[in-house]
Symmetry: D3
Subunit: 289 residues, 6 copies
């Protein structure tokens, strides 16, 4: 029921359109699709279906719609699935029909977005499954592809994950260097509390249980437990005692994520799902009319 609420709320259409417009111009260069211009008559029409080549999780259907509309309003777009859907090999996700040249001209751009984002959603879903029996959420980081952060964060949500902060400005994350300059974890947290707005949460990164105990006296909203073993994480969760959110981070992999989640942390963050997930192959099969 909640599937139409926040998690799958697509980034604003205007943002998608701007990104797609830039990508179309990148692919078209100065002369557009010269192959189709040379070989396909301007009045030829086609129908096409985009389908998944492998199993995975869908994200980015709106980019295919946007690429079609911005290339040629005469392309008709009929969605056959929704972002967040589980895909099997062969699942069709959208049908296009209209001028053949136009469909071919926007094919690659739409697919490049959808394959990339679906790859992230699929990778996220794999992690999410491994921790489904725990209370842990899988969250992403700021290690995203330049220019695509909002879209990749959305793809993480499509895969069942959750979002960490979107940038340097929407939440405080105090790390080693900040602590060193501030003269300790407590003054660092206190400075943050004194200087940022009341709607901004504060998280602090700690490396040891001792540092954690110290940090907790300054009452941060969340603690990032960096590179700790499942045992240490358990101890950390006990120390925090629900007075802050607990986030495990650092070198999380599919093999280790379950044990980490079972340690009782609230959140597990991984850059891998955004910076290193392979694409989910989607392909367009065209039928010239």
């Amino acid at each position: 029921m909640s599937s139409d609420l926040s998690a799958l709320a697509q980034p604003p259409r205007l943002m998608i359109d701007e990104a797609v417009k830039a990508a179309l111009l990148e692919d078209w260069g100065r002369a557009g699709d010269i192959t189709s211009q040379a070989t396909i008559p301007s009045d030829a029409r086609a129908r096409a279906v985009v389908a998944s080549r492998k199993a995975g999780r869908l994200s980015g259907l709106g980019f295919i719609e946007s690429a079609s509309r911005l290339t040629d309003p005469a392309i008709r777009v009929d969605p056959l699935a929704h972002d967040g859907n589980v895909l099997k090999p062969g699942t069709a996700v959208v049908r296009l029909s209209g001028p053949a040249r136009s469909i071919l001209a926007c094919e690659r751009v739409g697919l490049n977005f959808a394959c990339h984002l679906s790859g992230i959603a699929t990778a996220t879903a794999t992690f999410v499954e491994r921790v489904a029996h725990t209370k842990a959420s899988i969250v992403c980081t700021r290690k995203t592809t330049p220019g695509l952060r909002a879209f990749e964060k959305y793809a993480v949500r499509c895969g069942g994950g959750a979002n960490h902060r979107f940038g340097l400005d929407d939440a405080v994350l105090i790390k080693d260097n900040h602590i060193a300059v501030a003269g300790g974890v407590i003054p660092a947290i206190e400075r943050a509390k004194a200087h940022v707005g009341h709607m901004v949460k504060i998280e602090v990164e700690v490396d040891t249980l001792e540092q954690l105990r110290e940090a907790m006296t300054a009452a941060p909203d969340a603690v990032l437990l960096d590179n700790m073993s499942p045992e240490s994480l358990k101890a950390a969760v006990d120390i925090v005692a629900c007075q802050a959110l607990t986030e495990a981070s650092g070198g999380i992999e599919l093999d280790t994520v379950t044990a980490i989640a079972e340690a009782g942390v609230d959140l597990i963050s991984t850059g891998w799902i955004t910076h290193s997930a392979p694409i989910l192959g989607l392909g367009l099969d065209i039928e010239i009319e």
Copy 2:
């Protein structure tokens, strides 16, 4: 000696700066790095070194330089390596020094570019090694990350690979659909020859040896041999008999690339190196002065 020639020619500085500027604004949002603003005095200075966490191939050093310069001209940037260099775990690639807040404000953006591009260079280099004893080149496709194509193509060159066409406009690639509409492979090639400029090369995709024989009568510049076995590829190379470039494509993997190269093709194209290569981890270690 030729290492300073084409392969490693960086995209124009203006193009890098535009992409970096957008990425900085994406990361900074509306308020910039509020954590550092709250905890680090404006006059604190720092030195930092960016080093590789793993073995790989470097690409994208110029983006770290650009991010530093555009954030704060007061940051001094001393490169310690060159794009294309082989990196070992721990190899330092650049040293930064200047205002601590500024270095922290641009750290993630510079790294996001460099890790992504170095990941592509590293993946490419792995493929290149497997075919080093043959004449085959590893080439990339148009399956690139939206907005980053020119940079990813450059990363492929840093890894020892070569570039296929950059977009729909700079070369002709005739595929199934074009052939179907044109009424056969020969008329498709002929139409292309008749309609595109004299500086544009024409490649045609064929699925079978029979189709290849037919295509060769129309004298394309290159043939894309789609999803063929090493045996078929050998036969194809014989048929082509050096009258065109031969490119193997379709589901190329590290396990299969050597056999394919040994079939004698000129080029092996793979989307994997641009759309699915994991990043190469680079990290910035800061030392507040």
Copy 3:
């Protein structure tokens, strides 16, 4: 000592430059400063001082620097004050020297920014003074001038105020309509908790003490007490009992703000300081050499 920390951290230089560039082009139109071109020789040099015409609080000095540098790098800029400084009538804030035509060409743009932002800082400071004996902070809203939000939020900080959320995306603020659709204040807060990231704070707007009691059972991070009398606010503060931040809002004026602050709320928000504050007059006095 904390004056060089968060409150006065200027928006990133890149953001200031982009806004200034657009404003310069807006003022120059297609031909630039035709009056100076017609009457002042290209090699004439000038010195100028920008000074306050009235008492107030400074904000936006960086825009004068940016306008000068972007118009002509040959203009030398010597700041004589800092943003956040208290100004008396006649206080000089920056000295410029260089080509006379260039100084005249950027004068109005630099002043338009600095007068506008200093006006907001000054208005904020007036409110801040009235509540200085209480724990209440003066915070701004999203009722800002289109295109200038980040800068106006900064001006509020220069005046001693604090910032509420910067946009629709960095914090949750549940209002009447959301509550109506969600079927009550409790389900609305619960939906928000379920759907937004862990680094996002949740505030809920309530109109009555009864609604406040209900809301507090769902443990929001902050409550916005809309249009309540000082008496009701006191009661509300008691109900909340430090379990959430309390924000008074709605028709706050200079005459009423003290009583509201004395009711014990943590925050008092007002759109007036950003959308209706008159400018602080700054003027440039030029001396042609």
Copy 4:
């Protein structure tokens, strides 16, 4: 009858759309309206009416239309008033209906424009009323909010005022510094006449009646009478004797404007109406269906 002629001609739709697009992205940040996404189902629909909270003059209705259309073409927009209309408290100006999330996502941006511009129109109208029995026009200056000049100039027209030059390039305004460098008011005017195009008018600022007499010998199109008393202005008007337009300027306030107008000047310019006018409060009342 002339109400549909120049005075109320709206800036080109393309210009409004560009400004609104930027403002929407400013408000949405990277994730859009997360509150509505979390609490309001994607298929909820709503109707809303925008009405004035106070008495005033309407300007900027087109920005609400633009914000709605650019956010979601599915929002239906029915205007209930026209820019330039006199508003009473409660006067409805536009009705919106469509997807609830979309209406909430664009509400603030549309209102921020319309409140700001209506504030300027209202302030202008107040000045205009005070001089209605004279021949004087109220005109605005280049002291406008960066990025909004064309729109603020339009708002002045909506309030019954007129526009001075739009920038540095569309008319000549010779001030003290130009006169000083040119070696006197006469050579300054002569240089301007010699160097600017034939479609460009020339105005010269004078501080004294003596300077005015000198200036008139060079036949400027208009004279700006700076900071003169009503008595001096009367004398100035006599000196000019309809050979140029006369403009009073400098510290004009509501209390003084009538006396100044009665001195017989053609124009009275004031920066206050654009840089310091408080907004006119407009609010959106939503009804979820």
Copy 5:
């Protein structure tokens, strides 16, 4: 039949729209068409026909359509001709109907594009006619108007010409300087072959027959024969013997082009048709309803 294939494929609509949008804003400045606003009621409607004033070749009709649509979607656009058509004095090419102010507001921009591009098409056609009895194609260069290259290349195709490379990146053209640095024409070609992608063609410029013979041993795709007499060109064609494309270049004029074409070259390039062709006069005759 091939008229709907490559030669006349218009640049992507998105590219045309971006260029037209910029041109409209350039013409409108900050206030739009103040003459029409002042003299024509907002509800006046008009019909208009754009017709050629002289004989020539049409190119750029899509820019008139784009300018109309972007100015006001209420303008109806009915094309009466196609790009590439031969025009006589008086031939009507498009009919517009809709709001009179809107039609007048976009008239000049649409015409400026269409007259400029039709001028290029017309100039090209004149050259093409002179060589129609030979196999030579008329091709354009990179000597184009900044910002309009893709459109001017299209106009050349509308005139029956063909396109040389579109920029520095889509083909190799080795000139004197490259040869000098590389240490001779042969190493220059070899370096190019070694360093550029397999889909990139290589052309080399030669000044003498001796240099040509040397160059041919390195098997370039094309040779540019610079400033040679028809006799030398004939000799050159013999030397090349169909092993490469031959292009004559340098000071080609209408008087000399036939003799050059008759020398047997494949291509004749001229910058004149893009950088110096006079416009083809098209005019809009409006009829206010």
Copy 6:
């Protein structure tokens, strides 16, 4: 002495840089200058001189400087001439020295601007010479190349001409259609006077002497005498009797311009100098060090 005043005031550097940046990216496409990258080592240095190939008038030197600086700040630029200078065949205008690849990468863009603008300056100068013995100024129109208007207007000034209005917004020009709708030339002028700002001049186009007499009763600032013979123009000048500026327009050519000027008009406008002037050939001769 006045040569450093208005006529030769260059458009703002920011405007030049924006146009040059776009042109560089247009020429570089996605990979930059692949020929030089392939054949010229990255550390090769070069010196170059740009010189005129023909006689003419210089305009646009700043664009060569901008292209050099934006491509590579390491290029040193030494101007040898000034815009507005008379050039002989062979006159050197600027010397460049620095990285060879960088100089070659920006050569064409800088030249494309400078040749185009110098062509306009040269054409203008030719017209200006023909009327030098009269009081007539040669002025340009809005028939300019899209995107380049401000620069072309500047080029006209470099050639000794003057500028008409820059766009639809900075002056009123009442034409046939406006007169028809307004119900006559007098009401058209009156409407304009009533509705536009006091700094805006009003010109009216008339076709007959009768219409001129009527128009003069409404006291326009200027009259455009459309397509009149020298005799009619003389009569028109008499009718106007210095009460307005007189502009001759319509089909002005080099052969006819002297007679028209001798009729005594103040201004002669011609679109030809901006829309149809051939370039002035400038070339770059490079010397690799």
